[in-house]
């Protein structure tokens, strides 16, 4: 049984004052349904990805909220796994399809983050780390420790981190739905405000509003984008329990499973949407996914190996950095963006990589156009 991406929906990402969480969920869902050309009543179940609506807006029970969009009230469930909520919701939908319970389902991810202050937003995100045992730390601080370990072990440089951000902004400039559609230079990144040593403001992805949706079906068609493989891996929730901070066992495990299921190896992948919540996260991911040997991703980035014309196009949407990071939407958005590029035949084989917290959860999907 194979799973096809039958339709995609994606809202603008950014500070969207005029759109509520419900508006965003509705817009992405119905765009995906319209694109699939399936009647709305053919949606047999809905899987909603969201991290913090209970803390951001006091709204929970999102499975029922989205189900209520449809007169036939399909079964709805909400899935939370910090910033990997989107990837995890896709997985739950895929398991349900493969079980034979449903033939066509909706997966929609959304987050409304800008109704609260940046400080309150940071506090909600910090709930994805170990509250008591990592007290006083922030996400930039945890990734700052990872960056320092990577610099010390592999000689990764400030310039290489800055090059990641500049590259993702140059990609985001071509994405009309991206939060930031402007170029920034590596020098601007290197001179931006220090957040948690060595990470600076322009190493960090922003707080964003936005939603993304896909219709997944086991009803096959001659042409289309297919989910060839997926995998789910874990690392410890607490950074201090890891023996090596420069690698995520979650990503390595998820990639191993996705490759095995798809029969597609890393050398065949032409484009990747990966989880660059911080610049260092992109380098760690490229190494853990197997695109470059440990310690080589920084140099490869500076040499232009991760953009158009290089070894693999990394984050053509602009990634989390330039495209924005409404956390519940991100994992779904990665699949939407790549599906559209595959549909246009810009690429034939692509991969998504979605991470929760400081690497505790990772989800990998491998997509191919038939």
């Amino acid at each position: 049984m194979s799973i096809r991406v039958a339709g995609t929906g994606l809202t603008k990402f950014g500070e969207l004052w005029s759109n509520s969480l419900e508006d965003l969920l509705r817009e992405a869902s119905f765009e995906a349904i319209a694109e699939s050309k399936f009647p709305a009543q053919s949606i047999e179940a809905v899987f909603v990805a969201n991290m913090g609506s209970g803390m951001f807006e006091g709204q929970l029970h999102l499975g029922a909220l989205v189900s209520s969009f449809f007169p036939h009230l399909p079964p709805g469930v909400r899935i939370e796994g910090a910033c990997a909520s989107g990837g995890l919701a896709l997985l739950q939908a895929e398991y349900a399809l493969l079980s034979g319970q449903y033939e066509t389902v909706l997966v929609v991810g959304a987050e409304k983050m800008t109704d609260v202050s940046a400080t309150e937003g940071t506090q909600v995100l910090a709930a994805a780390s170990h509250f008591a045992r990592e007290y006083g730390s922030t996400f930039p601080a945890l990734y700052g420790l990872i960056a320092q370990a990577h610099m010390e072990k592999h000689g990764t440089t400030r310039q290489q981190l800055s090059d990641v951000s500049a590259k993702n902004h140059s990609h985001g400039r071509k994405n009309p739905l991206a939060q930031f559609q402007k170029n920034i230079t590596a020098e601007e990144v290197s001179k931006s405000t220090l957040i948690a040593d060595p990470l600076r403001l322009l190493d960090c992805s922003p707080l964003s509003d936005g939603a993304a949706a896909v219709i997944l079906t086991t009803k096959n068609a001659k042409n289309g984008v297919y989910v060839r493989g997926f995998g789910h891996g874990m690392d410890t929730l607490e950074l201090a329990q890891r023996s090596d901070l420069t690698t995520f066992s979650s990503t390595r495990r998820a990639m191993e499973l996705a490759q095995k299921m798809s029969g597609i190896s890393v050398s065949q992948i032409e484009a990747v949407e990966l989880h660059d919540c911080f610049t260092i996260a992109e380098l760690v991911a490229l190494e853990d996914l197997g695109f470059f040997p440990p310690g080589e991703a920084g140099r490869a980035t500076s040499e232009g190996q991760t953009t158009f014309g290089g070894r693999v196009v990394v984050n053509p949407s602009g990634g989390l950095k330039a495209s924005g990071h409404p956390v519940g939407a991100t994992g779904v958005k990665q699949m939407v963006y790549l599906s559209r590029l595959l549909h246009e035949k810009t690429f034939h084989t692509a991969l998504t990589h979605n991470v929760g917290g400081s690497g505790a959860t990772a989800v990998v999907h491998i997509l191919e156009v038939a």
């Binding site: 910090a126 990592e134 601080a141 320092q148 370990a149 405000t193 948690a196 040593d197 201090a240």
Partner: protein
């Protein structure tokens, strides 16, 4: 924010940590602090190897520590008092 019940549960752990020494294996300087810690910034977060386990702790005051330094656990204020009225204390480390 730490609730009174969370605070009460954490208190019981203090005696296991006070005076304990370990070696710094990673450190980052936090310039933008979370709510409750703004008045401490900039402060350091140190990943400390206590041989039997590693833990991440705030560094006391504005002291800067480096990888390889030996640090000891001390009791310090870890956040500004919140609306519950608690003055939250907890374990931090300082250079030994």
């Amino acid at each position: 924010m730490i609730s009174p019940a969370q605070y009460w549960r954490q208190n019981k752990e203090w005696q296991n940590w006070l005076g304990k020494q370990g070696k710094v294996v990673g450190v980052t300087r936090v310039h933008v602090a979370p709510p409750g810690q703004e008045n401490f910034a900039p402060y350091s977060m140190a990943l400390v190897d206590f041989i039997l386990e590693k833990r991440l702790f705030m560094v006391a005051g504005r002291e800067e520590v480096n990888v390889g330094d030996t640090v000891e656990c001390v009791l310090r204020k870890v956040a500004q008092p919140d609306q519950c009225g608690i003055i939250p204390y907890g374990i931090k480390v300082r250079r030994f």
